[in-house]
Structure formats: structure tokens, C-alpha cells
């Protein structure tokens, strides 16, 4: 290095230092307010896992927009092979936290699968899944679907249209295979809900008897395939249909190998989807870090829904990077920007297909947890009856609105968020009012799970055992 260059460097450095000091002076005044309440993170280097799905967006955005760094967190984000690997990673500490299926922390905590106490301070999104069938099945289904005047099928399409097809396969002695992403995934429950609502039995689990295939009494045989491999598996003919998150339904349309028949928005309007999971041990050991990462995620979710989804194209651009979701921009954009393409060319508006913040999407409601627990019981993953209190206690063990509230309040205090965008923390009970908007019209009241289970024509009820 020449002398002149060295001098330049020194000057540069001094200049930076000066600016830095000025910045510090300003920020110290503004930051002391919360720095007192909210301490520095105990653990600064974190590694988060995710599965290549568009609903991992809050994590990517929190990283790319510097929200994690604003909290003094240095986060590495790493795609995982499948949900099991991801969960094991969190449990054995290779990952500090991850984008998880809502059912995963619940199942882990009650010990269905690997037992570990996982909690969630942050719900990642609403909706965002779809059910896709292969072109061949679609042709067979089509005759049973009512048409609109323009000849397009009437949506939502119920599984009633699939029932005759499944029956035909059954008569011919051919198994009707469908894919979902994980035994305790939203997709499994949504697919089951949709099938059962149309009179197709998706099969029971019997964990006490060692049967965790979930195919007892089944008309349609459901099995696990990692999300990114869904289209390829469908194309290979191993499965006839699947339920998965985006972009893997839209991918099927683009590749011309399948037709999405229904979105989960139509199965259960504004259903809670992924959560951000960490171990209870992590939250206990690193309380500040936990609150801070929740803050960063809340900010990311806000940004994603800001100004009527105005930032979505920018978000799609980030998600299409190979280290995040990595699918083509157009494929991701399809659902992320408020439309959904069913049959090729049949593009319909679904503005709430991906909700990241509005409708209190990020608040971890106990009632959401209870719905998942109710479905675990309905299909036998929870082998025996449980009291309503058990449901509530389990929900409270896993879902942690307290952490969320601390994070949100500190954001409000700093002026980074508005109080009216959040539930009223003073009165919020964590239970959503009874929700009637399911495809089969059955109302869900989170405070009465056992009563809810009685309403289903297909599914285990009080006293039933497989």
C-alpha cells in the first residue's frame, strides 16, 4: 500500500469513527429508554432453519431488511431437507429456531414423535396452502364439479367431486395415494378435513399400537413427501394429489403436471399456518434474545403486509433467491401478490391467500393451538380422550402470547409499530371468538374442543379408540 493510500485510509477511518460516534450519541439518547427494559441479547449468533416455502418470508425479510441486526442478532438462515430434520435440528441445538408447522411444537411437547418442549412466541402467517391433483385425476373429477356460466368450475371445489374417483380406484383395488408434508402438518389436517368433509375417509392413527402410518380405515392413503419434492413425486405418479404450501401448488400449474383444486383459505378462512418454534430451554436461557427475535419477526410481518401488500413484489424478489425459496419469480409472485392460478389460465383473486400480519396473524392464539390438538385427537394421533382443560393447558404450554406481547409493546413504545395494529393486550384472552367459516359449515369454538369433536361425521369422538 502506498503512503498516500494509507493516509487516505486513516482519514477515512477517522471520518467513519466520527460519524459513528455521532450516531452513538443520538442513538444512546433514543435507545436508553428500551435498553433499560429490554436488555441486550444474551446470545447474538443464531442459526434459523426453514423449509423452502413462501411462508418462511418473515425470516428472510427480517434478515434482508436488517431487522435482526437492529436487535443485535447475527442470524444465519439455512434451508432444511425436511420437517423432521428441521425439528431434530432445533431439538438438539444445531438450530436456534425455525419456521415450523403449527402442529410440530404441539406434537413435540405432548410427545407424539420426538418429545421435546418447543414453544412458539410468534405465528408466522395465515392460509397459504393448496390441494393439487394430477391432470389425470382432474379430468376424472371434472364431470362432478358444477360449472359457472363461463364454463369454469364453481369454487370452492368440495371433495364430493373426488369421492367417485376414489371409489373407482377402490373398486379396482388400486390404492389412492396422496401426499402431505408431515404427520402433524397443517397440510395433513387440511387435506383430511377437506377429504372427510366430502365423505372420503383419510384414515386413523393408532400410536399406542405402534401404527403411525395414519392409514387405518382409509379411503385415501396419505403419506409424507417433503414440500419441494411434491411436484416431482406427483409427476412420477407415486401420488395422485397433495396438499402443500406455496410455491409448490403454483409450480404444478406452471410445469403443467397438476391442477390445484382448492386453497386452505376456502377450507378454513384465515386459518393459522406456520409458527416460529424455539425450545423452551432457549427462551428460558436467553429471554432477551427471544423477545428481540420476536420483535424482528413482527417488523418483518408488518413490512410484508404494509400498504395493502405494496412490498410483496420486493419480497417475492428476495424469496426467489436460490438461498431462500429459489423458485422462479413468476411462480412465487402468483400467490404472494394476491392471485391464485387453478387450472392453467384460470387465475382468480385471492387477496388473503398469504396473510402475514393483518387480522392479528402473528399473535399466537391459544385457540389456534387447540384446533390443531382437536385434529390430532380427531385422527387418533392423540390416542385417548383429553379434558377441555388439558387442551387449554397444553396450548398455554406451547403458545406464548406473553413473549409476543412484551415484544409488541416495546415496538409500540419505540414508535416502530402502532398499538391499533395489535390485539388489545389488556383484554386479550388468547381465544378467538367461535369461527364458523369452514368448508363444511361446522363452527369451531376453541374453549370447547370436546364438543367440537362431536360434530364431525368422520373422526374419533369422546370414548372412541382405534
Amino acid at each position: 500500500m502506498s503512503y498516500a493510500r494509507m493516509r487516505e485510509c486513516t482519514i477515512n477511518r477517522a471520518y467513519h469513527l466520527l460519524i459513528g460516534l455521532m450516531l452513538i450519541a443520538v442513538s444512546v439518547i433514543s435507545q436508553t429508554v428500551y435498553a433499560e427494559e429490554l436488555g441486550y441479547p444474551e446470545k447474538e449468533e443464531l442459526k434459523f432453519g426453514f423449509i423452502k416455502l413462501t411462508d418462511m418470508a418473515p425470516i428472510a425479510i427480517a434478515y434482508e431488511n436488517g431487522y435482526f441486526e437492529d436487535e443485535g442478532l447475527y442470524v444465519t438462515i439455512e434451508a432444511q431437507a425436511n420437517w423432521k430434520v428441521l425439528l431434530d435440528g432445533v431439538i438438539d441445538g444445531q438450530l436456534d429456531g425455525a419456521h415450523m408447522l403449527a402442529g410440530q411444537p404441539l406434537a413435540a411437547t405432548i410427545g407424539f414423535g420426538t418429545k421435546a418442549h418447543i414453544i412458539t412466541p410468534f405465528s408466522m402467517d395465515l392460509n397459504g396452502n393448496g390441494i393439487t391433483v394430477s391432470n389425470d385425476i382432474w379430468q376424472q373429477m371434472k364431470e362432478y364439479i358444477p360449472k359457472m356460466e363461463d364454463g369454469r368450475p364453481v369454487h370452492p371445489i368440495k371433495a364430493d367431486a373426488l369421492k367417485p374417483v376414489v371409489e373407482k380406484y377402490k373398486e379396482n383395488g388400486k390404492p389412492f395415494n396422496m401426499g402431505m408434508v408431515f404427520p402433524v402438518s397443517t397440510h395433513n389436517y387440511e387435506l383430511r378435513y377437506w377429504l372427510a368433509a366430502g365423505g372420503i375417509h383419510p384414515g386413523y392413527y393408532a400410536p399406542l399400537k405402534g401404527d403411525i402410518s395414519g392409514q387405518i380405515d382409509a379411503d385415501a392413503l396419505l403419506s409424507v413427501t417433503p414440500p419441494p419434492q411434491m411436484p416431482a413425486t406427483l409427476e412420477a405418479g407415486t401420488i395422485y394429489g397433495y396438499c402443500v404450501g406455496e410455491p409448490w401448488n403454483q409450480q404444478a400449474v406452471f410445469k403443467g403436471i397438476g391442477v390445484p383444486v382448492i386453497t386452505d383459505y376456502e377450507i378454513w378462512k384465515n386459518n393459522p399456518e406456520k409458527v416460529f418454534g424455539i425450545t423452551a430451554e432457549f427462551a428460558e436461557k436467553y429471554p432477551n434474545t427471544t423477545v428481540r427475535l420476536t420483535r424482528a419477526l413482527i417488523r418483518a410481518a408488518m413490512w410484508l403486509d404494509e400498504n395493502d401488500n405494496a412490498n410483496r413484489p420486493a419480497a417475492v424478489k428476495i424469496l426467489s433467491q436460490s438461498n431462500y425459496v429459489g423458485a422462479d419469480y413468476d411462480v412465487i409472485a402468483n400467490s404472494m401478490t394476491g392471485t391464485f392460478e387453478y387450472e392453467k389460465g384460470d387465475k382468480r383473486e385471492v387477496p388473503d391467500f398469504n396473510v402475514f400480519f393483518r387480522y392479528n396473524a402473528t399473535y399466537p392464539y391459544y385457540s389456534d393451538a387447540i384446533w390443531y390438538l382437536s385434529q390430532m385427537r380427531r385422527w387418533g394421533q392423540i390416542a385417548a380422550d383429553k379434558s377441555d382443560d388439558w387442551y387449554k393447558e397444553t396450548a398455554a404450554e406451547v403458545y406464548r402470547p406473553d413473549i409476543y406481547t412484551t415484544a409488541a409493546k416495546s415496538l409500540i413504545a419505540e414508535g416502530l409499530a402502532k398499538a391499533e395494529d395489535f390485539p388489545d393486550f389488556a383484554t386479550e384472552s388468547g381465544f378467538k371468538p367461535p369461527q364458523p367459516e369452514f368448508i363444511d359449515g361446522i363452527t369451531f369454538d376453541g374453549s370447547k374442543p370436546n364438543e367440537y369433536l362431536e360434530k364431525f361425521p368422520i373422526g374419533l369422538k369422546q370414548g372412541d379408540e382405534v
Binding site: G20, A25, Q31, E45, E69, P228, S322, G326, V331
Partner: protein, 312 residues
């Protein structure tokens, strides 16, 4: 003279023609294969991806600089507010580029290979020298040799997780997993070749050593080791070739950082560039494999007295 020029030309022109024919066949075939991810990438698409991957790498380095800068500022801020704080610089948390993945794979394969050599050569020598050890170990080696190292991967992963449970690991577990898998796969060919090399050492050379009454250690150092170097290197070249192949597969399977993960990620991404990126990676993998073999051959040539084994 003319004949000389002719042979040189032949040596240059014939591979060139082969290359051109290959590229032509490839582009022809490529335009006729339609996958659900679009047309199979031709040479042009792969070339484009090479430059795209390089551009990405450079862009990532720029981001890294900004990241470091921000960190410096944040640390300064923190120190001003909290004088007890000992500032720490963290490595860039952004994505690993294609070049980073190449380096990761190379480091992994080298470490695994060296570890294997450290174990295999002494073990092979002991087995080659002692009939008893040979009889004891031979069945084990014969059983483990045909096992695909990938079958070990889950076991390695679990054992590493169990034994290497530090909160702040110096090297990542994933690196250890890949490395140990490579080691396991290198081990057998090296042990076998070394022991065969040692056992088949010319009896006259052993007699020379006996007449000189060389002590055991000196016998190994002066006679056994140099005598079996050609065989040791044959084993090493063999195992390095296998190791490179296995590493890529292990990285794909276990999602451990490296070229294999790059390939798998791209396959999962299913974007319209994925196939050409995978193909670009395939060429790089092949080329590195070739360089590794050539490198070993050069080292072998340098160290081995038996030049004939190095020319193969």
C-alpha cells in the same frame, strides 16, 4: 520432424474434435429434451450460469463488506452505551456462494482424506507386517470395504451429535459429519493397499534389513515405508476418487454445506435456471475430481521411486 509435428497435432486436434462433437451432440440432445422445468440446458445456458454464479459471488462479497461495516458501527455503538461489552466480530451470515461451496467441499475432502491417511497408513503397515493382525483385521476390513459410506452417514451424524455437544463448536457438526464420512470411505482402500504393499515387499529387501539388524522402527522407516509407497499411493488415489464422489452424495443427503448441497438446493428450488446451474455444478465437480487425481499423480510421481505406477 514432420512426423513430430503431426503427432503433436494429433494429440491436440483429436481431443478437440471429440470435444466439439460432444458439445454438438449435447446441444442437439438438449433442445429435444423437455423437462417440467423447461428445456434441458445446452452449452449456452450452462455458460451463462457460470458467469451468473460468479456475479452472484461478487455481489455477495460486496454485501459482506457492508455487513462488516455495519457490525463495526454497531459494536462501537454498543461499547459507547455499555463499556463492559467486549466487541466481537462475527463472520458474514449471508448465503454461501457457489465458490464458497466449492471451497467448503475441497476443505472437507482434504481433511477427511488426511485423517484417513493418518489412520490407514500406520494401520496398513501394522497389518502388512504382522500375520496375526492381518488375520484379526482382515474379516472386518473385508466386510466394511463394500459398504457404501453413505450407509454410515446416519450413524456418524448421531454419534457426532452425541459426542460433540459443545455449546460453541469450533467446527460445525455438519463439517465433521461430512469429513468423517469421507474418512470412512478413504480408509479401506488405503488400509488394504498399504497392507498389501507391505506384505508383498521383496523378501531380499527384508533380508537386507535383517542382516543389518535394523531396529523395528528403522526397518519400517527405511525399508517398509519406502518400499510400499507405490502401493500406498495407488490406494490413496483410488480412495480420493471415491471420496470426492461420496462427499458430493453425502452433502446432498445430509444437506451439509458444499457442492452437493448446492446441487440439491437447486433441484429443490425448481426454478427455470436450476437445471443449468446443476449442470454447471456437474462440470465443476468433474473438473475438480480430475484435478484431484492429477494432483495425487504428481505427488506420487514426486515421492514414489517406482515411476511406472504413477503413469497409470
Amino acid at each position: 520432424m514432420i512426423r513430430n509435428i503431426f503427432t503433436t497435432l494429433q494429440a491436440l486436434v483429436i481431443p478437440l474434435i471429440g470435444m466439439i462433437v460432444f458439445i454438438m451432440l449435447w446441444s442437439m440432445a438438449a433442445s429435444n429434451i423437455n423437462t417440467s422445468l423447461g428445456k434441458f440446458p445446452g452449452p449456452q445456458a450452462v455458460l451463462t450460469q457460470f458467469s451468473a454464479l460468479y456475479t452472484e459471488h461478487k455481489a455477495e462479497r460486496v454485501k459482506e463488506k457492508a455487513f462488516i461495516q455495519r457490525q463495526v458501527e454497531r459494536n462501537a455503538k454498543r461499547v459507547a452505551a455499555d463499556p463492559d461489552y467486549v466487541p466481537k466480530m462475527r463472520a458474514y451470515t449471508g448465503k454461501e456462494t457457489f465458490l464458497d461451496q466449492i471451497i467448503t467441499s475441497l476443505v472437507t475432502v482434504s481433511c477427511g482424506f488426511l485423517l484417513a491417511a493418518l489412520i490407514a497408513v500406520p494401520l496398513g503397515i501394522s497389518i502388512g507386517l504382522s500375520k496375526t493382525l492381518n488375520t484379526a483385521f482382515n474379516p472386518i476390513i473385508q466386510i466394511f470395504k463394500p459398504v457404501s459410506p453413505l450407509a454410515w452417514l446416519p450413524l456418524v451424524t448421531m454419534v457426532v451429535s452425541a459426542l460433540y455437544a459443545t455449546p460453541d463448536p469450533v467446527v460445525p457438526k455438519s463439517f465433521l459429519n461430512s469429513m468423517i464420512t469421507v474418512t470412512l470411505c478413504c480408509l479401506w482402500p488405503m488400509v488394504i493397499n498399504t497392507s498389501v504393499g507391505v506384505a508383498s515387499i521383496n523378501i531380499d529387501l527384508v533380508n537386507v534389513s535383517r542382516v543389518l539388524r535394523l531396529p523395528a522402527l528403522k526397518h519400517v522407516q527405511k525399508i517398509v515405508l519406502p518400499a510400499s509407497i507405490p502401493m500406498i499411493f495407488t490406494g490413496m488415489r483410488l480412495s480420493l476418487g471415491i471420496a470426492w464422489m461420496v462427499l458430493i452424495a453425502a452433502e446432498m443427503l445430509a444437506q451439509n454445506p458444499g457442492l452437493g448441497k448446492f446441487v440439491w438446493d437447486e433441484f429443490q428450488n425448481g426454478s427455470s435456471d436450476s437445471l443449468s446451474r446443476i449442470l454447471a455444478a456437474v462440470f465443476v465437480i468433474g473438473f475438480i475430481g480430475f484435478l484431484l487425481d492429477q494432483g495425487m499423480r504428481q505427488i506420487q510421481r514426486l515421492l514414489s521411486w517406482d515411476k511406472s505406477t504413477a503413469s497409470r
